[in-house]
């Protein structure tokens, strides 16, 4: 966590490009997209320092950032694993076996929902409907949707992430989806 909280020039250019979408003085509109970028750049979560930095970039008060960051479920306010396995648990996924998916993951990784594995690789999260009911049961990791899960498929997905060893973010340009 020793990394300095500051975007590089390329990211600053991207942030400025986003701000330009909105009318003069409405740069606060960039808050949600910029928080996504910040979370992806700074270890997958929004520390108080990160939020203060984003506030300074958008010329708004830190509390305006915090009240937004704490409202939306995709922002992490605590450190998380490199890969957050977000398993949908709402009706259609539940009716097609999401509880078995979660149990299998918990057993396989030796952690409970909401916890992070000791090696810092995985966090299991149970989430509400991700708009993938036709591919139930499903999980999201970073930008990728993994649908029509079976326990075998699940094992493969976890192993692939483990071998790759990279942090996965919603903003990743590369994504898999099985639609």
């Amino acid at each position: 966590m020793s990394k300095e909280i500051k975007f590089n020039e390329e990211t600053i250019a991207l942030v400025n490009k986003i701000i330009k979408r909105y009318p003069e003085g409405k740069q606060k509109s960039a808050l949600l997209p910029v928080l996504h970028i910040a979370q992806a750049e700074f270890d997958g979560w929004l520390s108080p320092e990160t939020m203060e930095y984003v506030a300074s970039l958008l010329r708004i008060k830190p509390v305006e950032v915090f009240e937004v960051a704490s409202f939306y479920s995709m922002y992490n306010l605590k450190p998380v694993g490199k890969c957050i396995l977000e398993v949908c648990r709402t009706s259609s996924c539940w009716s097609r076996g999401s509880e078995d998916i979660i149990k299998h993951l918990e057993k396989k990784l030796g952690i409970k929902v909401g916890e992070t594995s000791k090696d810092g690789m995985f966090t299991i999260k149970s989430v509400e409907c991700l708009g993938s009911c036709g591919g139930a049961p499903m999980l999201q990791c970073g930008a990728s949707f993994h649908e029509n899960l079976t326990l075998d498929k699940l094992d493969n997905i976890v192993e692939n992430y483990r071998v790759e060893g990279k942090r996965k973010s919603y903003t990743d340009q590369d994504f898999k989806n099985t639609l």
Partner: protein, 443 residues
Amino acid sequence: MGKKILLEHINVPGIKSLDVYRQNGGYASVEKALKTMAPDVIVEEVKKSGLRGRGGAGFPTGMKWSFLAKPEGVERYLVVNADESEPGTFKDRYLMEKIPHILLEGMITSSFALGAKTSCIYIRGEYFYVSRILEAAIEEAYAAGLLGKNILGTNFSHDIFVQVGAGAYICGEETALLESLEGKRGNPRIKPPFPAVAGLYGCPTVVNNVETIASVPYIVMNGGDDYAKIGIGRSTGTKLISASGHINKPGVYEIEMGITVEDFIYSEEYCGGILNGKKLKAVVAGGSSVPILPAELILRTEKGEPRLMSYESLSDGGFATGTMLGSGGFMVYDETTSIVKNLYTFARFYHHESCGQCSPCREGTGWMEKILHRIVEGHGKHGDTDLLWDIQRKIEGNTICPLGDAAAWPVASAIRHFRAEFEEYINHPERIKEFKHLQELVS
């Protein structure tokens, strides 16, 4: 095969790209609208078409457009609602991912009709990868002169951008969506003023669902009267249905409104019948908010007439024996499904998603989740069913936005139609394991 408007070219290889999309007649409505039609004429055609909002409320689109205030010198906005978070609904994702240009075409044509210089797609954060697909399509459209200054050599200039949310069902409510777009928490606004008068940045704004806007090119090309001939009665046109749950062929289907529910569930063209040859127990026909109906009432109305896939037929009988078309999120449950446990997943959802602004919803959704949790865990108390009924009644109609109603209706309908199952859980907790839903995962 029914009429296809939105998904007609969905299987054409490369339809995601601008070139292939144009080879299949894409963007013709932009050419026609900008060069040969007056904005008001387009609004009239949309009115004539009878098109109704496809996000769930079913409000007439042309009427919504005609409410848009047009004060001199003030910007107007079109905002496309791609927040799609109603459990059971995934049609907009499918449409945007497979054929993104149909949405952009609809946005340009609609923005011309509304006099909007800028429009925006607000997409739920979890669909981040879809936002990449949309952005690539937008870039193609700029390069082809379909966006930017003087589109196709006309005086009309237009810009489109994609805004990504960050995980909040409530942002599908149009005023919460606008708050979010302004960089705030998604707390719904008190109406009036409606967005048509004071929307994004206080400017007149139209918020329409993805599917609604994607239907506009057809209306512009073929006329409102032609569109109104498709479908049945006041349910004109086609509807995308997201089919999921215990069926053989989950997926997104474009139906001509008016086909029977029975045909939709059992025919090979659509759901292909119930998974593993089991019997149908219940259906939630229009996304998690709408009342659940038992098999006999979803297939036939109380009067014994075949139930149709249309706004009117699905709501026949009111909430006593009917439901709603809603967003078209069609969830099917087989005979082994525990209605109580399923309801618990909905109650947990609404509790999680309540924005916390209105106390009946903030507190009530939590109480309902808690009570249902103890019931499914075998600790239900005598009187819990009545308590749930009482709570949902006190939420309904007492909140700023419809999330409260959306949380109340599934509870009310599950008790109305499956009360005995709640009592079974409460009186015989030792039998709960028999209800335990075990879906065999194909390993």
